[in-house]
Structure formats: C-alpha cells, structure tokens
C-alpha cells in the first residue's frame, strides 16, 4: 500500500503562503459545506470531510506545517515511504529494528501516521531481549479522528493495522472494529487488548492504544465534555440584548443575550455539551460572544453612528 503525496494546500484551496487565519477560514467554509450532517451525499461527504480535517490537522498546526513544507518540497526525490524517515521525524531513539505499522480507517493518512504521529506511536523499541526468550509484543499507538457527532452518539469504526517485518519484509494486515464510546473526549486513549504487536516465542501480543482526536468542527470546539461556540453579535445586540438562534449538537436553540453583554463573555447552557460516560449527564454548551463591527456602512448608517457618538456618555478610556 503506497501512499501518494497529498497536497494539503490544494485540499483546503489555499496558497502555500496562506496565513493561519486564511487557513482557518477556508477550513471552516469547506468543513461546513462537506459536513456529513449537512451534505446530501453522505458517503462522499464523509470522505471529503476527513480529507479536509487531515489537511487542517497539518496546516493548522505551525510545527506540522513546517515539517510538511520541508518534506513536501523534496517529495519526488524521497522515493516514497519505503525508506527510512528523516532523522528528526519521530522514531524512539535507542535503535532496535522497529517493525513498521500503518493504520487504515483512523481518519489520518499513512503519511500523517508515519511522520507526524511522533515517537510514542511506535511504543518503545524492540531490541534488548535475548533470543529464545518469550516476550510480550510491544504496544502500538496511533491517533484516531473522531467527529463530534461520533463523540456525541458513539459508533463503530473499522480499523486495519498493517505491519511489516523488517527482516523478512512480510506484510500482514489485520482488520477489526472498535467501538467508540459516547462522550469520548479529545486526548483520551482507547485500549484495544491484544491488537498490538505479536508476541515473540509464545509471548502474548501487546495492546493497541488509539488516542482520540476530535475532528475540527466548523462551528464547535471542545474542552472535555464542554462544547464552545463563537457567537458573532452586532454591537447593538450586545448593548440592547437580543434573542438569537444558536446551533448546538442537538440542533438550533434560542439564546437570550442579556443587555450590556461584553465581548468574550461566555453564556452557559447547562447539559448541552457532550455526554459524560454512561451516567446520562452531559457537559455544558458555552456561547462565547464575539461582538463584530460592520465592514462597510451606508450614508444613513454613518449618520446614525455619528449621532450616537455625539450623544453617548460612554467613554471607554475615561476610567483608566
């Protein structure tokens, strides 16, 4: 299974010089368009959504983007993924002929797994054992991309783990399903017993640890079971108060904005976050108020703002 080079810039439709803000905006636009809950053709949308997320995982992170840019430039000369990775691209120091593992179905491409997963995904290296002694196989680690909808309702994911023996070159692929429990939080590890490296000389196999990564959502971010949403407001909505529709993981709700709300203020809606285990309890939903100003204004609007300037007793710098 060779992995073609993926042009993450093309996936997100941005130039190689794009600013972090441009990348974020483009991701949000595309993720909203191809979100499986919104698109008509769910199967192809899900595939596209994962591609967009994968590209954002790399380009949205300055360090990963730097590595990707460095490696991407000499890609054609690198000879594919058969060779050894560059010295600073993971692999735990200490040597040993490490068996290579590649994942399928986790939502990250082989490329991502191989070079950005970091040292820990290979567990600790083989080696150090004397021959003939039975030994348990190493644990294997990888990341798994979980959408917030999966984190909300749980689900089954098909994972394939392909391992290559460094001595014989023999390739084995093992496919199985892993249940994603509802309420699984970002950073949590799912332990899959016995799905790590095979044991040696009759030893037991190691375990597979899948570290959950919440797929970046166009609207929401998470912290544990709490869900956060940046809610754009007009200045008068913040000053006068308003009732505005707000999307949540359960659909639209009406949120009352109190008069005199401030920029960055958080309004909490209890129990509208992700589930907390099997207890039935849920985290909270937080709307983070983002007061925005109009980009361009009409003559009539200008007159009204000017009138406000002359009559307003509000002097934001007076109390300093």
């Amino acid at each position: 299974m060779s992995t073609d080079f993926k042009d993450y810039y093309a996936t997100l439709g941005v130039s190689r010089e794009a600013s972090p803000d441009e990348i974020k905006k483009s991701f949000r636009r595309l993720a909203r368009k191809h979100h499986p809950d919104v698109a008509k053709d769910k199967a192809s949308a899900e595939e596209k959504f994962k591609e967009i997320n994968e590209a954002y995982e790399v380009l949205g992170d300055p360090e990963k983007r730097r590595k990707y840019d460095t490696l991407g430039a000499g890609w054609q000369d690198a000879g594919g993924f058969g060779g050894a990775p560059p010295p600073d691209f993971g692999g735990f120091p200490g040597g040993g002929q490490a068996r290579e593992f590649n994942f399928g179905g986790t939502g990250f491409s082989d490329f991502f797994e191989r070079y950005f997963g970091g040292a820990s995904r290979y567990g600790f290296p083989e080696g150090g054992f004397g021959g003939g002694r039975h030994a348990r196989g190493s644990d294997i680690e990888g990341d798994i991309l979980v959408t917030l909808e999966e984190a909300m309702h749980g689900g089954l994911r098909e994972i394939s783990l392909r391992s290559t023996d460094p001595r014989s070159g023999k390739v084995e692929t093992h496919t199985f399903q892993v249940r994603i429990p509802p309420g699984v939080t970002d950073g949590k590890r799912i332990r899959v017993p016995g799905q790590g490296e095979a044991g040696r000389n009759g030893g037991e196999p190691g375990d597979l640890y899948l570290r959950v990564r919440h797929a970046a959502h166009p609207d929401f971010t998470t912290d544990g079971a709490d869900v956060f949403y940046e809610l754009p407001l007009a200045p008068w909505e913040a000053v006068l108060g308003a009732e505005v529709p707000v999307p949540t993981l359960d659909g639209l709700i009406k949120l009352r904005i109190p008069a005199g709300s401030e920029n960055g203020q958080q309004l909490r809606v209890r129990g509208r976050g992700l589930p907390k285990g099997k207890s039935g309890a849920r985290g909270d939903f937080h709307a983070v108020l983002q007061i925005q100003t109009p980009g361009s204004i009409t003559t009539e609007e200008r007159e009204l703002w000017e009138k406000l300037r002359s009559v307003s007793r509000f002097h934001p710098r007076a109390q300093r």
């Binding site: 567990g123 150090g128 199985f176 892993v178 375990d207």
Partner: protein, 96 residues
C-alpha cells in the same frame, strides 16, 4: 449484525484490580503499588484506581526496566519528559 469483523469494546472508564493489572502488565502487585505510591503513574494517581492510562504507563515502565535496562530514577525522568512532550504537543495542536 452480520459483520464478521470482531468488535472491540473499550468499555467506559473501566478500572482494574491489582491482580488483573499485574496479569496484564507482567509486573507483580507489590511492584505496581511501589510505582503507584512513588508517583510514577502520575502525580494525581498515587491512590487512584488503575485505569487504561495507568496500564499504559506500567507497560512502559516494565519495558524500560526489563528491555532497555533503565533504573528507577531514569524511568521517572523519561516518563516526566514524555508527559511534558505530550502536553506541549497538545498545546501546540490547540493553540491556533
């Protein structure tokens, strides 16, 4: 469901008795308690039940000790550095 693929259910926040943890990790119960009380499983885990995260750390400790030949102060240092690295990577991932 007719799907022939085996399904692995990770359970939900399960914890393990010392005996089960010993069997899974290949370490003795006394050794596990020693590492736990010594804070090697993490500063907040000295008297917490053993969960999947603790099992993972115990497996790493066992591997460092037996396969790589690192002593306890060395293991402590490696685990602290690994945790710090993970935290920094998470912060980097979230900080854009």
């Amino acid at each position: 469901m007719n799907d022939p693929l085996p399904i692995h259910d990770p359970g939900d926040g399960g914890t393990y008795s010392l005996e089960v943890a010993a069997r899974i990790t290949g370490l003795s119960s006394e050794t596990i308690v020693h590492y736990q009380e010594g804070g090697l499983l993490g500063p907040s885990r000295t008297d917490a039940p053993i969960d999947d995260e603790s099992l993972r750390t115990l497996r790493r400790i066992g591997h460092l000790r037996d396969a790589v030949g690192v002593n306890e102060p060395g293991i402590r240092l490696i685990l602290e550095l690994a945790r710090e690295l993970e935290t920094l990577r998470d912060q980097m991932r979230a900080g854009f």
